[in-house]
Symmetry: D2
Subunit: 352 residues, 4 copies
């Protein structure tokens, strides 16, 4: 079988590098080109030193891209929507890992991004590329969007409870994300300066974070947004890769732990990349992002306060993997009807 | 002026060591004895290597303690309440930094600690040793309790809003604490094993944490507990010292940022150890625990979502300082009518 | 082709866990049993949480081991040599990853380990399992030894210079290893307690480290030990996985950089797991262990001080991979004449 | 007694910030001005957030500096030597913490800095501001130089052995420094980008580091440089503050441990900021930089290999304190005949 020909735009960043790493080892894919405006001409391993001796690919100029089967866009937010028409002429299927095509509604986009979308007509066509929620739509999709790393963690942790209809929506949903430094990208600056960033526990955008919009869209009823107040805050912590989201959900009925377990098991028992983690003993009783580095798993756990009818949902993933490039490859696998785990079998390390 | 004679029980742990460090440099205090069952006979600096060349004190046996002016108890939770009578014969004033005398109500204690208190008659007498809330009671107190490190952070962050009567108590109060490894004490074990603990983002007691009880007591109306649902969870992160609490409070009226500012300023403008931190620029816009290591400050900031009538309160401190030993010394200063900053002027480091 | 049947003794430690992870994905191997005295009956993923959903293997008792094709021993130092006869009845080929069979000479063993070897007759038979130096011997070997993690790093960094005969042996060889916490194993204790171990830069065994003996054996002439003084010291640093060795070698002739390059290239150009790293630009100009976590690479670089006739050799690897389990799997591949990279293709992550 | 009036040039960097922190609490000093070209007009605490609520000082423009008693220069290397005449008109005593006036010999400067010195006539006048070696010269000095952070660690560790005449100088002196990220300064860039710098073990300038020149000058005989080959390399590790140097010294006679102890004790017993650290038990048996953060101590330890006649010297300090600003304040105290510990009593934290 001839390999599917994939090209990447914006390959010098962290998501691009992770995508290259995954696709180089994908048995059904061939990387044809990797474009980078800033690194054109250089070896891919000059930006991604883990790929030394693995690949002799070089970055090309974006203008030198030729046609391929699938085009991945790993551009900064706001860029791909302005150039999407050109990219779509290069490949019949485009996967955009930026934030540009995550929201279905131009209004929701405007509300959270603060400006008009540049290609609003395409929003309804694009598929939110989370296989666990949109698997069937992916098989036919020509334009697939990546998913926000903190949004993915939150949505995968909460979707089963929302779909089961047990969440009391008159009480606000409060979520707190703890996130590593790689989520802020490969560009150096004062906020990432090691003496200041190391050991930091830094609140950023305690209100108004854009990933909230994805939660509102994906946790709502099919066809309509969630009307519940969503209070999402994020804290950057000492960690390079990884996200842990803690969410407090109040229930509209009194359920015991087994009932919650059942809901999660039914939702996720066939999912290759979701693990339910809730143990009585040991130090890894709940999801722990550090053992997920490099893996495509999203680990989900919970603790129930029966009296308060409250579930604390705890979900973790690697922001560059299930939160970005890994999920993109899983979506690609869905789009072509392949085994979803192709190229994604690395289980993570312990200890690490 | 002759120095006040202070002894310490349980001096080989982290809180004990910090207390020794502070009192050795306190201009009005003399450390007479430091007891430790496990380290008796050894130099204090064998347990606390930062005190090499600073002090030639040795640990004594707890049974060898003689009378003094003030006795600090730095024992594990549940121990001091069983031996409190003996300790009170040694000193007219006792400061217990464990959790044993933090709650005024035996019922609240039983509910959160899961067993009967061993000296319930003393609970009403003990003073919750947070100067910002109980300064006047401290001057006469014979039995003072230390305060829980995460409780202190939360209470100092939230008290002004509760005292101002602007919190909508029909919505649960959700708090998430991020905490360093020193909060779990000096005893090694699998949970603190470096290859597993390093880089961890570990949920512990997502529901039911005992510090919740202190919030319920201290944020309630004078004389009665808070009836609002309190949802407190904590996550251990890569950090040795420090706590950052993120709390989501909904308001019962629509207020602007200046109104919230005014409430905080009025509450805290004369407090020597509380700083309001909320800046427009830079990377230290909100409280950051890492620059508080070794200092007695509690930094408090907030962000308002006007539309949602929600305040995200962010508070930070060093769990061994303002969250334990430093706050204990501040309480001591209050008890003797001294300048509260005596022995506590170290401002913290940057970078660190 | 039927898979080679492999069993593991001592599977609950870090090296054992890494070995299980690698062999579970090895295309020509089947894990038949994993023994652990302390964890027998428990799932393998209870000790190695990264293997959740990957394997439903359970630990068995060491006494329940049955015969297999290859037996890996991951026991504490000093244990396997006392039980080696029993283990050899279980499998025709044994790979011992402890320190027991690394040295060929009972005298060298006694000198560095401080006691007599328990099975000295086997020492001459065992093969030092470093494929880069002993590839041909591995194919027939019945007893293969793992290699010390810091010794492996040092030997791979230095062997080409020694083999080229350019090292001035009248000057002591000085090496300094920087090493992460996982090298000290899975057992918790005061030395690994996070508040003390975190951020540590801790000298240990500044003189007399046992890995020195492996250098003396492997850098010496075939059949005789190195007579040069070897000064090896090690410092534990903030890192879980990884070793970086800096070695200072003085040359017996004046060589330029190209000559040194040529020596390394000739020695290593066909080695699948050694990369020469020496770049003019960027932040990854020399070997960096953090991007090797989970990979089997040993990266080697150098800097020449022409005037001093001194080469600073810099070598890095993951102590649990090329320094232990990964190298063990590479040796296994050699023993069976397979492609050496089978099961070892993970390239490491960036950033991480 | 009126306070000595001190001004600082280059106050927005890390050394400048540390100096401000120390001098704000110094009982005999008044800070009159702090100049910063980039931060003029801003509060000092906007660059140094640990000083919030401590000081309302603002940065002034360098051109607005007026006369004072002592002027500290915290400028980038190469700057102060070009403007030194102007600065000397502002104050009768100048302390330059950059590298410009550390070397006495213009030739040595040219050899290691690669260009001519801009004010060579002043080199012989300047005093190398290390009180332990140049205390008496400091009392009269008008121009005092700061000391390189890694050089200070190395020199303090080794000077007693050199002064005792026991070092075999025919064998090269090999030193390896492990150093935190703050030593590279406050300016952000790719080398300090957290995802890349975090967890790094990064060789930099394995040969040719400028601090070598200070060792050659200060370990040599009075009036002449060391002729021994000095092989100094440095590795940046995961740490913000702190340096640990490991040095291998060969002896020209066979000495036992007590003899080495005696040499160190005689050299340092009256030094307020040097501690000999060499213990049989515990995890802090050798110098450990992490417990020195914020303190002015240099901890020195050693291990002897009697057979090899080799001493491994281990020395640690905080690069911003004893390696820069703290040592500068100690030098200031010497210059004015004050107690050397004024303003420098903070003992460091444990745990941290």
């Amino acid at each position: 079988m001839s390999r599917v020909r994939v090209a990447i735009v914006g390959g010098s960043g962290y998501t691009g590098g992770e995508l290259i790493r995954l696709l180089l080892f994908h048995p059904l894919v061939e990387i044809t080109q990797v474009a980078s405006g800033s690194q054109a001409g250089h070896f891919v391993h000059s930006a991604h030193p883990n790929l030394r001796k693995i690949s002799t690919l070089r970055f090309c100029y974006p203008d030198d891209l030729t046609s391929c089967d699938v085009l991945f866009l790993c551009l900064p937010h706001g860029v791909s929507s302005g150039e999407i028409e050109r990219y779509r002429t290069l490949a019949p299927r485009v996967i955009d890992l930026s934030g540009d095509f995550r929201l279905r509604s131009p209004e929701l986009y405007r509300r959270w991004y603060g400006h008009e979308h540049k290609a609003p007509a395409l929003l309804s066509e694009a598929v939110y590329g989370l296989p666990e929620l949109h698997r069937s739509e992916l098989s036919e999709a020509a334009l697939v969007s990546g998913t926000g790393c903190m949004a993915t963690t939150s949505i995968l942790g909460l979707a089963p409870l929302y779909r089961a209809g047990i969440v009391k929506q008159s009480i606000p949903l409060v979520l707190e994300a703890k996130v590593g430094s790689s989520a802020a990208g490969a560009k150096a600056g004062p906020a990432s300066h090691h003496p200041d960033r190391s050991g930091a526990v830094r609140s950023f955008e305690p209100t108004g974070h854009r990933h909230t919009a994805e939660l509102i869209q994906e946790l709502g009823q099919p066809g309509s947004e969630l009307q519940q107040l969503v209070a999402f805050s994020a804290t950057a912590i000492e960690l390079v890769r990884g996200i842990l989201v803690t969410a407090h959900v109040f229930l509209n009925e009194r359920l015991d732990e087994r009932a919650i377990w059942r809901i999660y098991r039914e939702a996720y028992q066939r999912e290759p990349f979701i693990r339910l983690v809730k143990e009585r003993n040991g130090v890894y009783r709940y999801p722990e992002p550090k053992i997920l580095a490099g893996s495509n798993y999203c680990d989900v756990g919970f603790e129930l306060d029966v009296e308060q009818q409250r579930v604390v949902v705890i979900a973790a993933l690697d922001n560059l993997m299930k939160g970005a490039a890994g999920n993109g490859v899983q979506a690609l696998n869905c789009m072509f009807g392949w085994d979803e785990t192709l190229g994604l079998t690395f289980p993570g390390l312990h200890p690490v």
